[in-house]
């Protein structure tokens, strides 16, 4: 009975195919949850749209690029102030968003002129910025505005600017995942190999699928600097538009987030013969393994071992302090997709945490293959989980902490369960060795928060004789 029909799903029995409970001694390949399928309307799913997958997740990270959203103002407003991806140039990407502010007349007569005007205005208002990505949205896609033609015209008039187009309306595909794909493939088709950069090291790579959440990219960059590896392009954490045009120059593609960015790595392999190396950047064991693989590729194993030894000496005692206090903690992970398989084994191996339930918003079946292989028995693996399912799963597995977004975090707070921001982090970065100590610390501070204990007390009753089970210590 590995596929599970929850009580709340009795009226939508097709949900049974999306929820798997891993049992001992069975071939889990036979029970893969259906994923990347359309959501049932009215279920209060967690999913976003394809436009968001392109703009908010990948394109909008770039630190030097105007994000021109061709549509009504809401798509711009909503994909602004919802991420924590700083840059080393004053966070241009988080400060601004652009919209063509489409109105009814544009729906009737077409919005191409408005787009053209908005592009010129944006460059005129910020003359130091020379790069732009233009996105379509639901209505501009439906009315069929030819944004490529507009962009071609503007680029002819303004030879110093370069503009990329993403035609990915919100209704495309079943989740944000579609937007990742469209942007990946569009970029390799149109922009890679349109620029060459200076090569400064015998070892070059692209680092793909890391979006500098709370400084992840910048922390890992210190490793690559110490190893003497030149990163041609970061796709796209703290990245620049022009660096991404040079991706063809790298000797190796290192992929962290395979779901959002594996596509471009595959295409770079196909078209330029650049090998793809997938690593996990969260967790001590995984990070060390990743560094070893990269260094083996370049034949600089000694440098890699020295870096790992340094980092272990510095951070492992801190990690172990938290491990001692976190072992046996039950965690749930309700995030996008890949973090399920990045995290389940690393928190188990590095921190002694048991992940008891995981839900993915936009993961595909290959993500579930990975997470079920890495995850534990007795754990629930859920595709596109919805609110009522979360309540029921919480009842079944009783997690001590949930890694999820802030809105669901507010919901589970009422159930006296602390959350840690699994998307934007509480106090990151979480990647790398130092980062995983941060994750451990935030988990510890959440699990040992006295408020959850106080919340359970009804002051009309006797003072509970028993002290809280967990006593906090200074780190």
């Amino acid at each position: 009975m590995p596929m599970v029909l929850l009580e709340c799903d009795k009226d939508i029995p097709e949900r049974r195919k999306h929820i798997y409970l891993k049992a001992p001694n069975e071939d889990s390949r036979e029970f893969l949850p259906i994923a990347n399928a359309a959501t049932i309307p009215g279920t209060l799913s967690e999913r976003g749209c394809a436009f968001c997958g392109a703009k908010l997740v990948i394109g909008g990270v770039l630190k030097d690029t105007i994000q021109m959203i061709h549509g009504p103002l809401g798509c711009a407003y909503d994909t602004w102030h919802t991420k924590r991806y700083p840059t080393d140039n004053g966070h241009f990407n988080m400060k601004y968003v652009w919209s063509t502010d489409m109105k009814e007349s544009h729906v009737v007569f077409g919005g191409e002129k408005r787009l053209e005007q908005s592009i010129h205005e944006a460059f005129n208002e910020m003359p130091e910025i020379k790069r732009m990505i233009v996105y379509t949205t639901c209505p501009t896609a439906l009315i069929g505005d030819d944004i490529k033609a507009v962009v071609k015209k503007v680029m002819k008039e303004r030879p110093d600017v370069d503009i990329f187009t993403v035609e990915c309306p919100g209704f495309a595909g079943v989740s944000q995942s579609k937007g990742h794909h469209v942007l990946n493939i569009g970029w390799i088709n149109e922009k890679v190999e349109t620029l060459e950069k200076e090569i400064t090291s015998p070892y070059t790579m692209n680092f793909i699928g890391d979006f500098n959440i709370q400084g992840d990219t910048q922390l890992l960059q210190t490793y690559w600097d110490r190893l003497g590896i030149q990163v041609i392009a970061h796709f796209t954490g703290n990245g620049t538009y022009d660096d991404l045009r040079c991706m063809h120059q790298a000797q190796l593609n290192v992929v962290n987030c395979a779901r959002s960015s594996g596509y471009i790595a595959n295409e770079l392999k196909k078209r330029y013969g650049i090998p793809r190396l997938d690593i996990d950047s969260w967790g001590f064991n995984y990070m060390a393994e990743g560094i070893r693989k990269i260094c083996a590729f370049f034949g600089i194993e000694d440098k890699g071992e020295a870096l790992i030894a340094d980092e272990y000496a510095k951070w492992k005692p801190k990690l172990d302090w938290y491990k001692e206090r976190l072992k046996g903690t039950k965690m749930a992970i309700w995030t996008g997709g890949p973090r399920l398989w990045h995290w389940t084994k690393s928190v188990e191996d590095d921190l002694g945490i048991k992940v008891v339930a995981m839900s993915s918003k936009f993961g595909h079946e290959e993500d579930f293959e990975k997470v079920i292989a890495r995850g534990q028995e007795g754990t629930y693996y859920i595709d596109d989980g919805n609110e009522l399912e979360f309540f029921e799963i919480i009842d079944r597995v009783k997690p001590d902490v949930i890694f999820t977004g802030p809105r669901v975090g507010e919901l589970v707070k009422k159930l006296h369960i602390p959350y840690v921001n699994g998307h934007a982090y509480h106090n990151g970065p979480y990647m790398g060795f130092e980062g995983f100590v941060n994750l451990a610390r935030d988990t510890y501070n959440a699990v040992y928060n006295p408020l959850a204990h106080l919340a359970g007390i009804d002051i009309r009753n006797e003072i509970p004789a028993q002290l809280p089970e967990r006593i906090r210590e200074a780190a």
């Binding site: 709340c8 939508i12 359309a38 959501t39 049932i40 309307p41 009215g42 279920t43 209060l44 967690e46 999913r47 976003g48 749209c49 394809a50 436009f51 968001c52 009504p72 103002l73 809401g74 798509c75 407003y77 909503d78 602004w80 102030h81 919802t82 966070h91 988080m94 400060k95 968003v97 919209s99 063509t100 009814e104 729906v107 408005r114 005007q117 908005s118 592009i119 205005e121 944006a122 208002e125 639901c138 209505p139 896609a141 439906l142 009315i143 309306p169 919100g170 209704f171 495309a172 989740s175 009522l388 802030p406 809105r407 507010e410 707070k413 009422k414 159930l415 408020l451 919340a455 007390i457």
Partner: protein, 473 residues
Amino acid sequence: MSTCEVAAVKPAEVKLVARDRGGIINPMYDCQPAGAQYAGIGVKDCIPLVHGGQGCTMFVRLLFAQHFKENFDIASTSLHEDSAVFGGVKRIEEGVMVLARRYPNLRVIPIITTCSTEVIGDDIEGTINICNKALKAEFPDRKIHLVPVHTPSFKGSHVTGYAECMKSLVKTIAKGGKPTGKLNVFPGWVNPGDVTELKHYLKEMGVDHHVFMDTEDFDSPMLPNKTIETHGKTTVEDIQASGAAIGSLSLARYESLPATKFLYDEFTVPNHLIDTPYGIANTDAMLRKISEITGKPIPESLVRERGIALDALADLAHMFFANKKVAIYGHPDMVLGLAKFCMEVELEPVLLLIGDDQGSKYKKDPRIEELKQTAHFDMEIIHNADLWELEKRITKGDLKLDLIMGHSKGRYIAIYNDIPMVRVGFPTFDRAGLYRKPTMGYRGAMELAETIANTMFAHMEYTKNKEWILNTW
């Protein structure tokens, strides 16, 4: 603090201008469906169903969670390519039935359209008829109100979307009948702290009332038994009764007028539109109006509350606030109300930014006319504004500000130009607990003025700018 400049002798000018660009850099408002969703969550046992792409719901739920630090239930029809080609009404039907089956206490489903489904042209009213039949067949003992809300994103903003959904809710649910003797209060899009303050006044005056929407429980507790009480308190019965009230008190011209106008046209419920009660004089006018409608006197207790507020304001106005230049942005009713409040405490609101395409309406707004008559300093009011209008006046123009008042989306303008900022309006996710505090009424004026003062004081100390003035106060 004070610079002792002699004011130039020239008549003050108040200009009303529109954004001169077509595109937007940093929008002040979200789109219509977002506002409709905000009105919808104010109703008890209600889950709005947004007919559009999933982002139209997911991001708006996140936005509300950011502001209130709470979760609100909103559903999506999860529109995809096939619906874009063949129409999406089947997804509404499925969404309604799934909600009804899985949420046995559900009584209201506003069906909120978006840009995509308006462009496709889905027949919402026709679909509701089909759904009503299906609901009746499957749940003969339940009444679920399906409310059509047309909110294409390419018109108006979240302000008009809020007003539209309020109107649709009363239009679908309100009834006439035996007079209730109660007052309808439509505060507009305000915080739970404001609703609590308004209810306090009505209680002090002994006025029976319904607040539309009663969002007091958007500030909800962690309880020992883990009950979740985060939802609107306005019930179906409250909305039904709105058609038989003694009157409607409209506190927001742009947010509540369509609903109250409907109640007047349909049920002849008298509508009383007043200036949004920010500051002392506007609050005075509101209490007088309530007294006039209900015949209930203004009690001594409110005279005292007014006095406490005035006493606090008097400590701040001419010593710290006078001649300080302020920019205010946000919802038009709030911005115009706060401009008047600022002038009461001698702050000079030199720049007002209001954000959507209702330009012709603003030209006829009597509050703007009043500002033209009373301002003793130059003032620019920008409509259809974006936040770039504010930023470029500071970074590229010659606007010198002592204070910015607005929501969190403009935070970087204040931070990177080193200008003290007080968060007001929606959303204010980068400051703790603001949803709980009133900005309306006497207490709201007092708390706001004190927040402004403390923000300025902290800035003086942080920048070592005459911080010694507070050596003694």
